[in-house]
């Protein structure tokens, strides 16, 4: 549907009327007018022609009457001549008397035709000659001069006059007949042309009417369709409004004009008592959000829409509702701008958010509590352990002199278990230190190759028991700046693992210097590690094997990685299941440690 926008167009055709329809209607009126005009003209011509035919007929009739009057006069004269009775003179006189009047009338009738008029003149002349001759003969007959009368009748003059009269009448008859025929033909032509015009006009009219019918039908169909569309769209909007999922407000410059139930109940009113005109669009806002409203209003003025923002509105009872508010100008065709605003109640969202924050804080506190418990528990356990360790050592010293082999062995085993407990407690404390970011390094210049040899030496007895042959491939010395006790811990961890998972197989340790870094490897031929587990094993509490088969808390490799990374180094593993594993450390040799790579963990 074309909507007319220019005034000039809407002036000649009604608003909303299809252009083609308007043209078709104009054409129809035009055709009708032409048809009427043509009919009018032709009818008038036909009437004119009919009048002329009548006139011609009148002329002919008058001519015949005049001619018969002449003959009547002759008949009366012959009767008198033959009978000499005066009774015949009366018709003669009557005819002779009528003749001039008739001729005058003929003259009048033929006033529009010069030729005929000339003929009438000649007829008058001949007729008066004829009447004169008749009169002369009647006078001679009355005087009894019968011979003279007969001579006159027989004379050529008499004959000639009569012939001339007949000739003129014949000419005139012929002329009028010709005219009559011509006028008849013209009338027929006119009638034919009228019929043709009527036929063409009717066809055109029917055509245009059909066109109009077609256009009106198409227009109505289109109108119906677009009306149906508009109705469907309106229904959608109404459904949205009535669904009350969000509050909707309509407002103009004077204030709120309408709102849906969702907004009304959000604002704490009831539909029955709600009067929109008592409110302005921003009148619901809690005071501290007014500045946001002002920038929204500016945006509305400049761009016709304002981005949604969060604020709080005051309900009728003074309580607050957190909402998301957005507004846009809607063109309703009128002069004043109409604004549609939506208001989403965020109470539930805020509640969920608060709940989520609470849960998050709870979880964070729980983790903090766990870490701090680990630290406290570690420290607390360590004191009795320290005392126990000293006491057991003292006991073993005492046993030496006694010579009870069984008791000595038991004490020795106690000592080992105490040491194991101490190591586990240390691991736990390391975890809490690393987690708290307080892992402390004491770097000093030291020889990694020597450290490796020392640790291996310390492990000799364990290795023998595990059936592992330990071998060290190392340069004379690999010097760097590291925390000795922490690297001792790292090597201990890796060797312990190698002998645990590669029992009965040789374990090879390699130390070498490569420029700025030292490389340390521990290679076993044990059960190996699946690809999927290779990254995981360095994570906290992760294990690649079931805890039923192999003991341990899953902390060793994580602590190892943390210590190596605190030194600015890297740790990695290459392994295939069943083919053993090689752990490789790379440690920067320079003034590394803490100063170069600050190590903090949250």
């Amino acid at each position: 549907m074309n909507v007319e926008t220019t005034a000039s167009r809407s002036r000649w055709r009604p608003r909303g009327m299809d252009l083609r329809l308007a043209i078709a209607i104009c054409l129809t009126f035009g055709a009708l007018a032409l048809l009427v005009a043509a009919t009018w003209v032709n009818t008038f011509r036909l009437l004119g022609d009919a009048a002329k035919v009548d006139h011609t007929r009148e002329v002919i009739g008058e001519l015949e009457s005049t001619f018969s009057t002449v003959k009547d006069a002759e008949t009366a004269e012959r009767g008198f001549l033959l009978t000499s009775e005066d009774a015949y003179l009366e018709p003669f006189r009557l005819a002779a008397g009528q003749l001039p009047r008739r001729i005058e009338r003929l003259l009048a009738l033929t006033a529009d035709n010069e030729t005929q008029r000339a003929r009438v003149d000649r007829f008058r002349q001949l007729a008066s000659e004829w009447v004169e001759q008749l009169g002369k003969r009647i006078d001679l007959a009355r005087a009894g001069k019968r011979d003279a009368v007969l001579a006159l009748i027989a004379s050529s003059t008499n004959r000639r006059t009569m012939d001339a009269l007949s000739g003129v009448v014949a000419e005139m008859r012929a002329e009028e007949g010709k005219l009559l025929a011509a006028r008849d033909r013209r009338s027929k032509d006119t009638v034919r042309s009228l019929l043709t015009t009527l036929a063409i006009g009717a066809v055109l009219l029917f055509g245009f009417l059909f066109l109009i019918w077609y256009l009106v039908r198409a227009d109505l169909t289109r109108r119906n369709r677009s009306e149906a569309e508009i109705r469907a769209r309106e229904a959608r909007i109404r459904r949205l409004l009535n669904a009350n999922l969000i509050g909707v407000l309509f407002s103009d410059d004077a204030g709120v004009t309408d709102a849906n139930d969702a907004f009304i109940s959000m604002a704490g009113y009831e539909r029955e008592t709600w009067n929109p005109r008592q409110h302005t669009l921003f009148g619901f806002t809690a005071p501290e959000f007014r500045t946001l409203d002002e920038s929204c209003e500016n945006e509305l003025r400049e761009r016709g829409t304002c981005r949604p923002y969060q604020k709080e509105i005051l309900r009728r009872d003074g309580t607050r509702v957190p909402v998301l508010f957005g507004s846009t100008s809607v063109d309703m065709g009128g002069g004043t701008p109409v604004r549609a605003s939506f208001v989403v109640d965020l109470s539930e969202l805020k509640r969920v958010e608060a709940e989520r924050n609470r849960l998050y804080e709870e979880a964070r506190d729980a983790v903090k509590a766990r870490d701090s418990f680990l630290s406290v528990a570690g420290h607390e356990i360590r004191s009795p352990l320290a005392a126990l360790n000293l006491l057991v050592y003292q006991l073993s010293r005492q046993m030496r002199g006694v010579g009870n082999a069984r008791a000595t062995d038991l004490v020795h085993r106690c000592e080992k278990q105490v040491l194991r407990l101490i190591r586990l407690t240390d691991e736990l404390l390391d975890v809490s230190r690393i987690t708290a970011g307080t892992l402390h390094l004491d770097p000093e210049e030291m020889d990694l190759a020597q450290l490796a040899r020392d640790v291996v030496e310390r492990f000799e007895e364990n290795a023998r028991r595990a059936g592992c042959k330990l071998s060290v491939t190392a340069g004379e010395s690999v010097v760097g700046f590291w925390d000795r006790s922490r690297l001792d811990q790292v090597i201990t961890n890796l060797l312990t693992n190698a002998m645990k998972f590669g029992a009965g197989q040789p374990v090879e340790i390699g130390v070498c210097a490569r420029g700025d870094v030292a490389q340390f490897t521990v290679e076993d031929r044990g059960i190996g590690i699946h690809d999927a587990d290779q990254r995981r094993i360095f994570d906290r509490f992760e294990r690649a094997v079931s805890k039923e088969t192999y003991a341990g808390m899953g902390l060793g490799l994580w602590i190892t990685r943390e210590i190596v990374e605190a030194h600015g180094g890297k740790v990695g593993v290459e392994s295939r299941p069943g083919a053993g594993a090689t752990f490789r450390l790379t440690l920067p040799r320079g003034q590394g440690g803490e100063s170069e790579s600050p190590h903090h963990r949250g």
């Binding site: 004191s383 009795p384 320290a386 005392a387 360790n389 000293l390 407690t425």
Partner: protein, 123 residues
């Protein structure tokens, strides 16, 4: 050959004292810095002080400060005895003669004592 043990955990201090006495040294115990100072000022001067750092009452640092203020006591070597991972650093800060990490390794304890007090009278 006397060793002063300043340690708040009685089990540890008792175990150390017992071990040292077992090895032929004589050991005196104090539960905090104040007790330590009292022991120093009242009895025989020890050859070595084993000093715990974290203690309720007067802690290791404050004891060390007081000790250094007293010219009669300042010369006595101190071995720092702590559960801290930065034991070595602590020792340097306090100008201590040595350090021991809790839980202490008995062999290291004995070798440290021997270093400062000489070998025990009975092996």
């Amino acid at each position: 050959m006397r060793v002063l043990i300043i340690e708040d955990d009685e089990a540890i201090s008792e175990a150390i004292a017992s071990l040292l006495e077992d090895c032929g040294y004589s050991a005196v115990r104090a539960a905090d810095g104040r007790g330590g100072l009292e022991a120093l000022r009242s009895g025989t001067k020890p050859s070595l002080i084993l000093l715990d750092m974290a203690m309720p009452g007067m802690n290791g640092w404050r004891f060390r400060e007081e000790q250094m203020k007293d010219p009669g006591l300042a010369e006595i070597p101190v071995v720092v005895f702590t559960a801290d991972s930065g034991a070595e650093e602590r020792a340097r800060e306090l100008g201590a003669a040595g350090w021991l990490r809790k839980p202490v390794d008995p062999l290291r304890l004995l070798s440290t004592i021997e270093k400062h007090c000489g070998p025990p009278p009975e092996g």
